[in-house]
């Protein structure tokens, strides 16, 4: 396979770069090791920052957020819910910070307005009576799945190509130039090669891992942030805590839910990223200071993402700049490798533009960047799904007489048939995981207790599963739901989990394969 630019990483940054390059007439391939937005782009807060959160620590980021946020509201309005936002200080919060806040916002060109408590309460009845100071800003909520899928769709319509489930595992380098990238199809295990003129590493938290494959290590710290999704939407606006940025400061509404978070936990490696019970408790406790309802409401899922913080000087966690890092790797002795990492969802377009500028310059292509002026077309691809997971690509409703496989979320046999066909057309295996990723099966109150099972039975009936694959796939499916639910089990949830385990383990012995019982006849 050959292309002009190989982009590694299918998050908001990678898909943004693909669109930017394609609009400049540059041929590119986008590689993603699993699915679109399976990294931080699917594990974030969904806040289109007004910039006000960064005014004290990082004025540059604050100003960039303000500018890009305003631009995206114009160019990609269908991905954004322009909710507006409030900054709220409660009793005990730092008075000096509160007093300096409006002035600092103005300094970086961030529109801000003081709001009286009465007016704030009218706007957002959920606010705590302990609120002592409120300002309104231009925050909004953004659907990162729709954003990435629409960027991708526009890129594809201009010639770009996406390869999912394709992981870069190494590079062949000749005299300071990457000759090709070695890629593994993680489903088949097959290895293939892609020759490109320029290579862009847009792998977010994995940027160092990938750069090391080209002997160009990037010292970085991983900071995990966790979030919880409420069953019902709590507020109309984004609600921020008016204090020096710390944990559980933000509640972002999105569609019918609200997302509260986040935390900042330094981690050593990128396997098995998940929210923990302690983090969830912390988010709820801290968040309830601004919005007391958080301590009584129901939650449907917890998830986590990783912020890649590139070490510039000494320091760790939140004090490191969250501004993006664009590296030309010339000092590493490489002339066709570029890394873009860090930054924000809010500034993804700007990051993509700067990265594409560097690549285009090297390719001697002087077509201008079009993403700052051309609206992002709405595609049929993107649908809101739960954060922390890959996007839902199909949606439709069941027809009469069609047996429901998932009763909570109304997914029927014929809908599964369509998903199976589409998966096969893509060359993907129609297993429980893939069908789950493309539908709302298992995402309702039963969390897969019944539907995982019915789906397996149905797929066996269609000949898509064989031998004892079903046992392992049901386990994997249930565990994927469990990952996001376990940290939320605090009270009433215990009943549901007990029911689920009574069935799957008590009644069906799904925790073992039949191997455990082999040879029982031999025992006296």
């Amino acid at each position: 396979m050959e292309t002009e630019v190989l982009i590694i990483g299918g998050g908001t940054t990678g898909t943004g770069i693909a669109r930017d390059l394609a609009l400049r007439g540059i041929d590119c391939i986008l590689l993603e090791q699993s699915d679109i937005n399976s990294g931080a782009s699917g594990g974030n807060h969904g806040l289109l920052h007004s910039g006000a959160r960064y005014i004290f620590k990082d004025g540059e980021t604050a100003a960039e957020c303000a500018e890009e946020g305003a631009l995206l509201k114009k160019l990609a309005p269908h991905c954004i819910e322009d909710t507006g936002g409030l900054f709220v200080a409660v009793e005990g919060d730092d008075e000096k910070y509160i007093a300096d806040f409006p002035g600092m916002c103005e300094k970086y060109g961030i529109p801000v307005k003081p709001v009286s408590y009465a007016e704030a309460l009218e706007k957002e009845p959920c606010l705590s009576e302990k609120a002592i100071s409120v300002f309104s800003v231009q925050d909004a909520s953004i659907d990162p799945f729709m954003l990435s899928l629409d960027n991708l769709a526009d890129a594809e319509s201009h010639g770009a190509k996406l390869l999912r489930n394709s992981r870069v595992t190494g590079f062949e380098i000749r005299k300071g130039t990457i000759a090709c990238a070695r890629v593994r199809d993680i489903r088949t295990g097959n290895t293939f090669f892609i020759d490109a003129v320029q290579y862009i590493n847009a792998t977010g938290a994995w940027a160092d891992t990938v750069a090391r494959m080209a002997d160009a290590a990037i010292p970085m710290i991983y900071s995990k942030g966790s979030l919880v999704i409420t069953q019902d939407r709590i507020s109309r606006r984004v609600i921020n805590r008016l204090r020096k940025a710390s944990d559980a400061d933000i509640i972002t509404p999105g569609g019918t839910v609200s997302i509260a978070g986040t935390t900042s936990v330094e981690i050593d490696h990128l396997d098995d990223i998940r929210a923990t019970a302690e983090e969830v408790d912390h988010i709820i406790k801290e968040g309830a200071a601004m919005v007391p309802e958080l301590s009584t409401t129901r939650f449907i899922r917890a998830y986590a993402g990783v912020r890649p913080l590139v070490k510039k000087e000494n320091g760790s966690g939140r004090s490191i700049s969250r501004n993006y890092t664009l590296l030309d790797h010339l000092a590493d002795g490489l002339d066709n490798f570029i890394t873009i990492t860090g930054g924000k969802l809010t500034t993804y377009r700007l990051m993509a533009e700067k990265t594409a500028d560097m690549a285009a310059d090297r390719l001697k292509n002087d077509n201008p960047c079009l993403t700052s002026t051309r609206p992002l077309p709405k595609s049929a691809k993107g649908e809101w799904t739960e954060p922390g997971k890959s996007p839902k690509i199909w949606s439709s409703s069941p027809t009469a007489g069609d047996t429901l496989i998932c009763e909570c979320e109304m997914v029927s046999e014929s809908m599964v048939d369509r998903i199976v066909e589409a998966l096969k057309a893509e060359g993907a295996a129609p297993d429980l995981e893939e069908v789950g990723n493309r539908s709302r099966i298992g995402k309702g109150p039963c969390q897969g207790t019944f539907c995982s099972f019915r789906l397996a039975a149905y797929l066996y009936g269609k000949g898509e599963l064989s031998d004892d694959q079903g046992i392992f796939q049901v386990r994997q499916f249930v565990n994927e739901r469990w990952k996001g639910f376990e940290p939320l089990v605090r009270d009433k949830e215990l009943m549901r989990v007990e029911l689920q385990e009574s069935f799957l383990c008590g009644l069906f012995s799904m925790e073992h394969s039949n191997e455990l019982m082999k040879g029982y006849d031999d025992e006296p």
Binding site: E486, S502, C505, S509, M517
Partner: protein, 426 residues
Amino acid sequence: MTNPDNGIYNVAVIGAGTAGTAASIFASQRGLSTIQLGRPSEMSFASGCLDLFSIIPGETPKFFANPWKGIESLLDRNPEHPFSKVSQKEIKAGFDAFSRFMETCGIQYTKENDANRFIITPAGTLKPTWHVPSSMSAGSAALKRKKKILITGIKGLKGFGADQMASTLKSFHPDIRAVTVQFPGREKAGDLMCERLAWDLETPHVLEKFAAVLASHTCGAETVGLPAILGVHRFVELKEKIESIIKKQVFEIPTLAPSVTGLRMKEAFLAAAPEAGIKTCSQSVKKIDMDTEGNFVFHITQGLEKERITAEHVVLATGRFMGRGLCIKDGRIREALFDLPVTGPDSRSLWYERDFFDAKGHGVNRAGIETDPCFRPLDANGDVFHPRLFAAGGILAHQDWKREKSGSGISISSAFKAVSSIRKGS
């Protein structure tokens, strides 16, 4: 015995799951005036099998074909397990008394004293159990004797995938195959429920048609497995009738809730209870007080009347979280009715493993109440909470019935021991 002479029941059993049902049966068999309270909802999940014990959970779980050897080995590792408070003789006596009662209601079991048997589940897994209801026993026998099995699914009955079962079992039992048939009169229905089909089959001509459909597929098979739909009341008769038409042995496979097998147990017990002198009331008890004599007092609503119930003894068989025997107060696990202390993991971060199916089982499942040797709950100081309060079943600490496959075993044996310790008029 339904209305005790002095208005005071000897025993009130709180809970209508296996432990509560067993405790009521044992109490009535001992001539104690008995009232049982609680919603029998959990029963509708029951497979109908009576498990005793077969697996020690752990990093490498161990399966025991012989339940007694299993219990011996379990107690070496886990000396506080509820089985430590009952002898083999008591366990057997409890199971005998329980199954004798069920047999009078028409539910028969096939059992071997020293061996667990397997039943096929809708997942195609093998589940070890001890007493197998006779409607399922041909399946266990066919597995053991390596007979040719045909699993029959029904179109529209989701969650019962005949192909899934046959494929999954193939490596364990090569002579197995699957077919999915249409249910007569319900060919067009998108979604079928087991209970509906079970009622359908109680009609003779439906049964005959269904048997005819089966007969056209059973060539080459020796034993035919069906979802548990063979009638709600006349299941023994219906099974025999189908067998005589298709000339093969037939066995049932328990299904997802609500299950017909659970329904049968519930209906059979409720029908036999009055004659056995057990008063039943399907209400949950929210609060229990004490009178000056130290008797237990609570209220139930009968129609519009509020009735005051007094009992000398209480058997707490309220189960775990689903049964509402256990609950969470201020982030800690407590017992719901008497606020008894619960042994278990301190913080909720220790409740569960990351892998839902972790072979060790989850810490929260071993939480429960502590008791003395005759199953009287202990207070925070380790003293008996009340001399006439007993506990049985899932609410007990130091067990994980879901993983051990010991649900009925713990329920029946603890209920037996508890009730045996009750002295009338004490």
